[in-house]
Symmetry: C2
Subunit: 807 residues, 2 copies
């Protein structure tokens, strides 16, 4: 067993000695203090400074947490503190291996931010005791670098997003350095592996700096890591291939390591300064080779080398709790005591349990402390966007359905001007995996470019280092960058193909969980919402096919806390504008907007659209004929294509069955369907019953999977009469109308549904039903011959039942 | 405008000329033929060989598809054919940019496999006409390299998984070379970026070879690609850092390019041969630096250079259809005609429309054709696993709940022996992001190791180049490898933390869609199911917390076609064994098993478990007391923790309200809840009503999000009495029992639910209800003080209502 921390003898032959003996002693003491507090959090319940002999009764009954990564994090934090203080750097710390929670809690406690935010965790013995007890303890704090942790914008529970978050934080923060620790295990994840290339999107003048620190401690949970087991040459090539100049700090002797790290930090800081200065002075946005650090240390550094004869330090066995069985095994208690005492707490904390001054002085002051940097509590810095009046972008709609527009293109003009109005504030960006143009937001390029800090050729389309549109073919990067951007107090939009947004399902989960927890943390200030535009949606992925058809992101989203999530399916461009404006003003939500990009009928004037979207769901009186009586059937629709098919069905019904009383209801805000007890937007039962009736058949055409509507509305009184059509996993590369036919959501099926479900419709309707069947057969024959939809489908216009069905 | 294909003059100064003039001419002709057929598919409706002047009426009304990537794919296919034929190689082709569907259709048509599988696409004029028409056409074939495409195991719709699939195919296929084209856009995705490291898991003796071909055509949809805009040096460093030796083939002059590519293919084939031979001869599994190819060509190579004055070839504008407006713009028709004629179809096809012999001869024969390689229709090669008798692993259960076991550890022993029995067949592997041991499958290491082809150190735990357990910290790799392995006719299991399986939501989507489509393709033979074990589940992520709690993968899965998806929640180890056995025998499904790893009560004997799992849902008579009468309440449970809480609640109820008639129903097979019209496993309405009653309250404790049960069961007659408890996004690092309490699913809440919902329970039950409330308060106080659950919770045993509640 060796306790490296205690071995502070001078190593002969050490080359670099940027620290004098006193500095060395003090920085090592700081590290020891952080390590001590980390071990204490994992193990101790009482006797925090080991003033009495350690007894099993002082040890927590359940040992939960991760030690392995922690000493490395503590080491880095101490050295970053040093260069922050030395150079007045503005820095935040991103902990890729977020399971190293104890380290960040310990360090923010040592620097004082913890106590400022949580006054009952005082800077004294009682405070340390509470600090220890609360960790991974009921009523206490989580094991990870969670929202509860000061200075964190990255929980690091699900691994892989550290660098993306770091770059998101750095964009448009030219004075910020984001130190980002990447676990060597984390480096194996896909999102992390591609996030290295983020440096091709970072403007060396107007953005901040990301300092990646690869924490090569050799292991993940039970395995070595890939990057620790390739040749140094190969690793260096890889990192240079990523565009970095790597600096290696390697070893386990603390003194040598402190000197090496201090030297490296100085070098790296200097290089960063030089790069920034050069870029600014020469107005040169050529991509520099940014420095990065590789820290190679034993995993679990400074814990017992062996426990019960098995290696723990420098092995995967140190990943979680280096030794358990504390209540069964007195040897382990003794070992823990000597381990903790190896940090010599008596030299670190005074009688009252306060960190002694000469150590405490090493921490930066005020907002220079990484735990207090306002960027890490982005809501503090958040400024509202300057928004143009969305009504100015309205599509003129004289008659419902008589004008066509591409909804997302109209929205794109609004977004263009949002971009324009906020160019000076530099706090709005758009993110997309190369789908902005495809999804029809091309107008935004009138006012800004796509960001790119690589070679730019003459034929390139709006590419520049100053662009504010972020397009990398990685949904993970778009999501990660945007999260980092939002969490540091800015605004943004993610523009994505609907089907492939599932790629970031799990990232959405983590962000939604983060927001949910933040709502209960008073010092976390609200941040801008995470906004999604999902277009090229399931019904209109014309060039592609089945692999590009999946409307299930909504299903995924609505599983998260209702306070956080919002889902909008505007039926036309004016509604889309109104919804977009709303989303850009909202805070702490995740807003999902689904809207088509293809030319399609416009239904509502801007005035109507505003009312409709504000209400979230309404009867479309102009399409209904039940006013003054009870409806026979409610035709409900949600989504642009379902709205079209519903209105086309109503058109047929009103012509063919003129006595039928039809009520058309459109839903923009999906969460209206839930009860108010389930979602803050939910319609009251009374309003719901009024709108949908208590006993009439509801034929509901839905954009997504039909069962989602049942899952949302199952508590409603009229649920048993709810009949939903939607996407049921049928599709291929075919015509737009055939897509709805394949899923039984077309106008002809909807008419048939009405005939089948409205009671007491006379047998003469057999003729109408048969006509519908025949239309479907005609359709199939036509498209297989001509490859496009029948003219009567393509050219259909809403007539309120006045038009003849073409023969 | 330049048509590179026609410019077949000898370039002076070309160094390498492995092809003599005749070979050069013929391989170029082959490429021209493939290109011609590709353009034809995208554009033509009629006049396939341009025997008449091209008219707009010959052109499809809707132009759907992607040209940009296609000529490069055609070029590669031709050159791979050449080395296959020359060296009798066994090779398959993976098309990363799967939107290049026309290329693979064209090539499999040229080599003859297409016509063999689709006899109506004959090798004549009528066949070519149908080949053209069917592409991206209603009633025809999809635009991508879909299951319909011969030789494909990779659709390439959602980009990013090409290399993972390639490696999955190569594992345990020592004679197979998997040529894998990676789009330079695709290379930006996370999954692709990390999949390069798969070579650290490939055994050079017993596995096959993956030949990555980076298709550096410079652009993705509307943007240049990152890898095309970094220095050649940097790119080379990156690829070497990934462990490859890159060979660059760059240019646009066809002749030079053919010579270069032929030379490179020869070099690469020779290097592969040399590496394999060395490894085998010297029994040396040291990781070699595998060769790879970088093909740098203009995007859209050989299409019109400019259209309407704007550059198309060698620009992002060639990505989809290089020019549209064919029916409005006669110039475009003329341009298309001259473009297509530039391939000189009259030299390629004879009068009858057959490919002329001297070109056709270039294709390999029989199963050497990449479209006919049986590995790409894995079901052809599939052999059933040798399975031990799962009953031999049974946990002895004398009394329900009186013995504890770790379910997944028991399952792990079974898996160990499955591994053992199939070691010789080399057709079973286990995949996990470093969570096998954590999820308690450690016993598998008794018979095999973790695969690793990097440096191995003494302390490493069961690591070897021959291991059959694949552990990389990338859920994407695990999923991609496993898919590739299954699609080529082998078996496997994915062992994952429940929460993080969402990382591969979108990959699961694509695989489920693939399987769904395959069910309708007669020549696609059934493959082994994709099996998931999800453990360290939402209720017991003790070391972590909120970020690790998400049971929503099931919700995601059940959106896919019911023929494909199966979800099992075994309540104990014996049930888990029975379910596991079943899954390993099934075909063409996706099986999701959710099971805990913590020591917990065992309920059923093996005999009971088999009956229960075969039925999927049953009344647990030993826990119920309603036999011979009507139940007052149905206590339903699904999942291990919900089962525990339900039984504990029943225990209390039977003691405190002895007259209450309780029926306990347990569900293993979640899809039983749906009707048979919705899922093949669905219980009939009659059986459902019998089991759950038509009118009694059902208190349902569910493992996942409670609303999923409503979504599945909303059609059932007793749905309005269904009251579901489950995970509702409340959690942190706390005690196991507190997790259920936070989500109102604990025994005390369940008892309260019964009291609240069963009508006519007397007011004396106010006392019981209050006792429950008090228990919850006691619980909170206890855990906040002691950090673990109350002894009465930890030590609870099922007594069938006979035990006193401890005070
Ligand atoms: C995406 C994801 N998969 C799996 C896990 C489970 N997990 C937690 S920690 C860990 C190992 C991390 O290794 P590394 O990044 O090297 O961190 P360190 O060695 O510093 O602890 C794993 C696999 C996770 N948190 N996230
Ligand atoms: C994960 C994912 N995101 C987005 C898309 C949309 N998309 C289709 S093709 C394409 C560009 C592909 O570029 P590249 O890989 O270079 O292929 P190539 O240039 O050969 O066409 C994109 C972004 C997709 N198919 N998959
Ligand atoms: Mg590590
Ligand atoms: Mg490309």
């Amino acid at each position: 067993m060796s306790f490296n921390t205690t071995a502070l003898t001078t190593t002969p032959g050490t080359e670099a000695t940027p620290l004098d003996q006193d500095e060395l002693r003090r920085i090592n003491a700081y590290w020891r203090a952080a390590n001590y507090l980390s071990v204490g959090q994992i193990y101790l319940f009482d006797n925090p400074l080991l003033k009495e002999p350690l007894d099993s009764k002082h040890i927590k009954p359940r040992l939960l947490g991760h030690w392995g990564t922690t000493p490395g994090l503590n080491f880095l934090y101490a050295h970053l503190n040093r260069v922050i203080k030395k150079n007045d750097l503005e820095m935040i710390f991103i902990t890729g291996p977020g399971h190293g929670g104890p380290a960040l809690v310990a360090n923010t406690y040592l620097e004082g931010t913890y106590t400022e935010l949580y006054p009952n965790i005082e800077q004294n013995l009682a405070g340390i005791k509470r600090l220890f007890k609360q960790f991974s303890f009921p009523g206490g704090i989580p094991s990870h670098v969670a929202p509860e942790t000061p200075g964190s914008i990255h929980e690091g529970g699900e691994l892989g997003y550290a660098l993306s978050h770091a770059y998101g934080a750095a964009f448009d923060n030219p004075n910020l350095i984001v130190a980002c620790v990447i676990g060597d295990g984390e480096a194996e994840t896909g999102p992390l592996a591609t996030s290295w290339h983020s440096n091709k999107f970072l403007n060396p003048i107007s953005d901040g700096v990301v300092l990646p620190i690869l924490h090569l401690n050799g292991y993940k949970i039970a395995n070595p890591t890939v990057l620790a087991r390739i040749d140094r040459d190969e690793l260096e090539q890889l990192l240079r291939g990523y565009g970095h100049t790597p600096y290696f700090v390697e070893g386990e002797d603390p003194e040598t390591m402190h000197q090496q790290m201090a030297e490296t930090m100085d070098l790296v800081t200097e290089e960063i300064r030089r790069i920034k200065q050069h870029a600014i002075k020469n107005d040169d946005t050529t991509r520099p080779r940014w420095p990065m650090i590789v820290l190679k240390t034993p995993k679990g550094w400074t814990c017992p080398r062996n426990v019960d004869g098995r290696q723990v330090e420098d092995s995967w066995r140190s990943h979680q709790v280096p030794m358990g069985g504390m209540h069964e095994n007195p040897d382990h208690v003794a070992l823990l005591e000597s381990w903790m005492k190896s940090y010599r707490p008596e030299e670190l904390f005074d009688e009252q349990g306060r960190l002694i001054d000469e150590i405490a002085e090493l921490a930066p002051r005020g907002n220079f402390r990484m735990g207090a940097n306002p960027h890490a509590n982005g809501g503090q810095l958040l400024k509202s966007l300057h928004l143009p009046d969305f009504r100015d972008y309205a599509v003129e709609v004289s008659h419902p359905g008589h004008v066509k527009a591409e909804a997302t293109r109209v929205q794109g003009k609004f977004i263009r001007d949002v971009m324009k109005l906020n160019l000076d504030s530099k706090n709005f960006r758009v993110f997309s995996p190369d789908e902005n143009a495809s999804n029809r937001w091309g107008d935004v390029f009138d006012v800004t470019d796509r960001a790119f800090v690589g070679e730019i050729l003459p034929g390139d389309d709006h590419l520049s280092p100053n662009g504010r549109v972020m397009e990398m073919l990685s949904e993970h990067q778009c999501q990660g960058w945007l999260e980092g951007y939002l969490l540091t107090g800015r605004h943004g939009f993610f523009n994505c193909y609907e089907a492939f947004i599932h790629i970031i399902d799990s990232m959405f989960n983590q962000h939604a969980k983060w927001l949910k927890v933040c709502e209960d943390i008073p010092w976390r200030r609200p941040i801008a919402s995470l906004n999604y535009l999902l277009s090229s949606h399931v019904w209109r992925q014309d060039h592609n096919g089945f692999s590009h058809q999946d409307p299930g992101f909504i299903d995924h989203v609505v599983n998260k806390k209702s306070e956080i999530i919002r889902v909008y399916l505007p039926p036309d461009a004016n509604c889309l504008l109104s919804v977009t404006d709303h989303c850009l003003r909202s805070r702490n939500d995740v807003n999902v907007i689904v809207a088509g990009k293809q030319p399609s009928q416009q239904w509502l004037t801007m005035d109507q659209a505003i009312k409709h979207c504000t209400a979230g769901a309404s009867i479309w009186e102009w399409a209904s004929n039940d006013r003054g009586s009870e409806p026979d059937v409610v035709m409900a629709c949600c989504g642009d294509v379902p709205t079209l098919e519903t209105l086309a069905a109503v058109d047929i019904l009103r012509r063919e069955l003129p006595e039928l009383k039809i009520r058309v209801v459109n839903i923009v805000d999906l969460m209206k369907l839930q009860t108010p007890s389930e979602h803050p937007h939910g319609l009251s039962d009374k309003d719901f019953d009024l709108m949908f009736t208590k006993d009439k058949p509801i034929i509901f055409a839905f954009h997504g999977y039909p069962w989602l509507i049942h899952r949302l509305a199952y508590r409603r009184s009229n649920h048993q009469n709810l009949h939903v059509r939607g996407y049921k996993e049928e599709g291929t590369t075919t015509t737009p109308f055939d897509m709805v036919v394949l899923n039984d959501m077309d106008r002809f099926h909807l008419v048939t549904d009405v005939i089948d479900r409205v009671p007491h419709l006379g047998t003469q309707n057999a003729y109408v039903k048969q006509a519908m069947r025949d239309k479907l057969i005609e359709h199939k024959q036509y498209i297989c011959e001509y490859g496009q939809d029948m003219p009567e489908i393509r050219d259909w216009v809403w007539s309120g039942g006045k038009q003849q069905i073409s023969e």
